[in-house]
Amino acid sequence: MDEKFEPKITAFVCNWCTYAGADLTGTSRIKYQSNVRVLRVPCTGRIDYMMVLKALHKGADGVIVSGCHPNDCHYTSGNYHARRRWMVFKKMMEVMGVDMRRITFSWVSAAEGARWAQLVNEVTDQVRALGPYAEFRQIIGAGIE
C-alpha cells in the first residue's frame, strides 16, 4: 500500500444542520483533517443514492452522508425519508458486496461543531486504515476493450 495514502472523503450534508454544524466547527476553531470535501444540499431528503455511487465512481475512498437528527429536520420529515432510503440502500449495497465501512451515515446538528470534527476525523482515520478502495476502482474501466 502506498505509504502516503491520503483518503479522499466526500461528504453530502444538509444545509440546516450538518452544514451549519460544520460552520460551527469553524467558528469554534476546532481542527480536523482536511481530506473531506463537502457538498451542500438543502436536506438529506435531497440526497439521491446515485450521488453516493458517483462519489465512489469519481474516486472517493469514503463517503459521509449527514443531516439533522430525527425530529429536527428543517423540512419536518426530509431526514426520515432519507433514513428509510439509506436503510434500503445500505441493504442493497451489502447484498452487492460494497464495503459499507466506506459509507458513513450520521446526524450532526447545527449545535454539534465538535461532533462534526470528531466524525470527519474518525471517518478519515478509518478509511485511511482501510486503504484505497481498490476493489471499487478495479471495476472502473473494466469491460472496455
Partner: protein
Amino acid sequence: MEAVNQRAKELLEKGEIKAVLGYAKGTGHVRRPHFARKAGQVDQLVLDAACLQNLAVYVTKHEVKKLGKVAVIALPATQRAILQLMAERQLRDGELVILAVDGEAVKELDSAAALEEHLALKAQGLDAKDKALLAELDAMSREQRWVYWQNELSRCMKCYACRNSCPMCYCGTCTMDCNRPQWVPVASHGIGNLEYHAVRTMHLAGRCVECGECGRACPVGIPVHLLTFAAEESIHEQFGQRAGAKAKLDYALSTFKTDDKESFIR
C-alpha cells in the same frame, strides 16, 4: 382453462373487450404471451405449468392500451403486479377484466379493491429455490458477494431485458435514458453495470412483486431477480410493507416511521 376460455370468448363476442391476453404455445415447449383478438383465436390460449411470464408488463404499454379494453388471464404474480400498477395510478378500475386464475379456480375481477381482497387470501412468498439462493448469498462474506456479483454482472450487456420484462418498469423515460445529467453510464462496463443494477434495484425496492421475470428474461443468465428480491424481502422485514398487496399506495420509500431503526447511523 376451458372455463376461462369460455368466458373470454363470451366477452369478445359481446364486444365488451377487444382482446384477451393469455399464453399460447411457442417455440418448442416454451409458452409465450398471446393476444387473442377474435373469438376464434381464443382456442389458441393455453394454461399450464410452462406459462411463466408476468403478463402485467403489457397492460401499461400504449400499443396495448390503444386496443381498447383487454381481459388478462392473470396468474398470482400478474395479479399482484396489476394491483401495484393500480396503486401507482397506471391503471384505473374497470380498465381491465382480470381473469384471476389460481390453480383450478377462476375469478373475474375489475377493480383494485376486488384484487386486494382476492390477494389477501393468499400468502405471498418466495419459492424454495430463490430462498435458497438468497440464503447462499447471505452466507457469503462481503468480499465473496462482491466477487460473485462482479462476475455475474460482467456478462451484462444492458439489453434491458430485465427492465423491459418487468411490469413495474413502465416509465416512459427510464432513468437510464436520462442524459442531462447521465447519472448512469450507457456503456455496459464495470461501473456502468454496477450502477445500472443498483439503480434498478433501488427503483424496484418497495415496488417489486417478486415475480422473478427479470431473472427469467436475462439472456445471459444473471440472477438479477435476487437483487430485487433481497431488497423487497428486507423492506418487508423492516417495515412490514409488501408491494402488490394494497389498492391504496403503500410505498415503503415515501412513508416512514419516526422510530425506524437507525443503529447504523452515527
